[in-house]
């Protein structure tokens, strides 16, 4: 029973919100490669969402292109989620390893990513009056992913319902703290860089004179 290939496991987990991840855990299945592929797809989906949208819905500023916001919206956010969840749930008697959290969370993102791609395609076919169809798809995609993500956390750590809610809330707080520290660290690095470059310039001038 349940002799599925890795690809079939993705389908199984996504289409069975309540016991899909439990089955996966029971079978010790799930592939890091597929998780990485999903995150890569998320990254491309965010770029498509920002840049390739139908012109009638969104005018994108196309004089410059910066990849950083798209990286932040996909890879960085996901990494912060995984690390935040791992650090919180280690303290809360969670059974998930960081690898499993990563795999399960990535699998849970599939409906969201599918929704992004579908809407980018639809935005070239529909007009503004029919935007409601895209909103429905978006709502379904986001809602489905939310349920899956909840179920993924619940089964990877073997939590009860209430404890999962608590853990998710704490994870969000942890994510905020991490992002705050990240910004702080960046500005600190910048300060140090300016300091060093000023000293360098100063010494450089002295040597020349």
């Amino acid at each position: 029973m349940m002799d599925l290939s890795q690809g079939q496991w993705v389908k199984h987990a996504v289409t069975h919100p309540f016991e899909g991840f439990e089955d996966m855990r029971w079978k010790k299945s799930g592939s890091m490669k597929i998780a990485a592929l999903i995150i890569l797809l998320l990254f491309f989906a965010q770029i498509a969402n920002g840049r390739l949208y139908g012109f009638q819905f969104r005018v994108s500023y196309d004089k410059t292109f910066s990849i950083v916001p798209y990286l932040v919206k996909s890879v960085v956010l996901f990494a912060v989620w995984v690390i935040g969840n791992w650090s919180v749930c280690t303290l809360l008697d969670g059974e998930g390893t960081i690898k499993n959290i990563c795999i399960y969370s990535a699998y849970a993102l599939v409906p969201y990513i599918a929704q992004l791609y579908i809407n980018v395609l639809l935005s070239h076919v529909l007009i503004m009056d029919e935007y409601v169809f895209m909103q429905v798809i978006q709502f379904i995609g986001v809602g489905w992913t939310a349920i899956l993500l909840f179920s993924a956390i619940k089964s990877v750590h073997q939590y009860s319902f209430g404890k999962t809610v608590f853990a998710v809330l704490l994870t969000v707080v942890a994510m905020l703290i991490m992002l705050f520290l990240l910004v702080l660290f960046m500005s600190l690095i910048q300060q140090v860089y300016i300091f060093i470059s000023t000293i360098y310039t100063e010494i450089f001038y002295r040597i020349r004179v």
Binding site: L4, Q8, K11, H12, T15, H16, G54, F55, Q56, F57, R58, V59, Y61, K63, I118, L122, V125, I127, M128, D129, F133, V136, I137
Partner: protein, 502 residues
Amino acid sequence: MKKSIRKLLPLILSGVLLGGTAASLIASAGEPYDVYNYDRWGEAIPSQAGYIADRTVSGYDLGIGPMDSPSDIFCDHNRIFYIADTKNNRVIALDSELDRVVEIYDEFRLPDGSVTTLDQPEGIFVSAENDCIYIADSNNERVLVCNYDSEVVMEIVRPDSELFSAPTFRPKRVVADKAGNVYVVLDNITTGAAMFGPEGEFTGFYGANRVQPTSEIISNYIRNIFSSEEKKASRPRNVPTGITSFDIYGDFIFTCTASSTQTTDTVKKLNAAGKNIFANLELAFGDYTPIYDASQNKLFSPAICDIDIADDGNINCLDLTTGRVFQYDEDCNLLFITGTIAKQVGGFNQVSALESLDNCLYVLDSQKNTVTVFVETSFGEVVHEAAELYNAGYYEEALEPWYEVLRRDGNYRRAYIGVASALLRKGDYKGSMKYAKLADAPLIYDKAFEGWRREFLKEHFTEIAAITAVLAAVLIYIGKRKKKKPAGISAADMENTEKKEE
């Protein structure tokens, strides 16, 4: 000469040219500045000049001695220009070519036969209804209403009313409407323009500005909730900046406010009830990016010190900070930017007033003591023609002029909008989509796309139906084969549900 231009250019244009655009600048001949316009993103881009400086007229040219700090210029219905020559205590009337003095008004006969003179007149207006000259006689604290023969018809002085609490009455600008009501902009009054009836009786204030909700005002408001009456009384009150100048056009009065701090209500279009029609539109007048002056370590934001509505409805705003005239069409779309701070013809020291007649702009400089005449270029003519047709709803008639505009200036965004709208009206959806995309106008693009999609579906209905039928058949076949060895929901089924939602 050339060196001085080179030295000046970076100063003038520091706030104008954003990175990367400088390379493609083509300065039009004779301008002491580079002509620019704004694109959809509010970034300055090079453009063609709509007006060029033709000449300047000073008091010497007219043979009446130099003007001294002139502060207002007005052109009446007989095409006579009136200039309030403030420090010389006189009003000069010139013909429409600005080369002959028609009359100099400096002494007036009161009804009782005595003679009165002006003391620093700052505003001038001539009513077409009753052929009266209205002079804001600032230091005498009165508005003088007289006829062309210097006979005073009426004097408006500080009203003896409870409503009027200010101790002074220093009129700066004056206009009169068709019914003979007189509106006076007063110095140090923030409650709007004082309004007087046809007989000179005070009837109230008109068109006050709103207070801009800055963070300081909001925090003061929150603090006032908790503080005592005494503390509240000692705090500075939140009052808006007073009106600087206005102009009347048809039934509407346009006001402008020169304030370096306030950005709301800098330009207003007031109806007879004093309601601002521009109030809820997200409009910005003047330069978008404030100019930084390193020598004073200050940011200079636009200060619209005079406004003039041309006969075709275009709104001309005069910016004191940059010495520029911003011309908008009646829907407040930016058409042209003209002028600068410079020594040459076409540049100013300190602008004070603005007037328009036919296709010319007249800008008064209170330090150079001159009137600068700007004439419309051929490019300006085409744009004005196109914009006028477009705003009147003649989209298809405006198509040719808009194409002409694009041939001359491929950066002119309004032209792309005009072409897209015209092509949409004509039913050329593909072309309309192309131009709407170039104009960054998603609403027009949406309509054009709807039309294009409808035509596409009509034309290719057989192919689409055939492909759909084949696809459906294939999907059903795959589904049947999958059912023999079940494994949850198949990919084909998922695609099916998506198709339905589509």
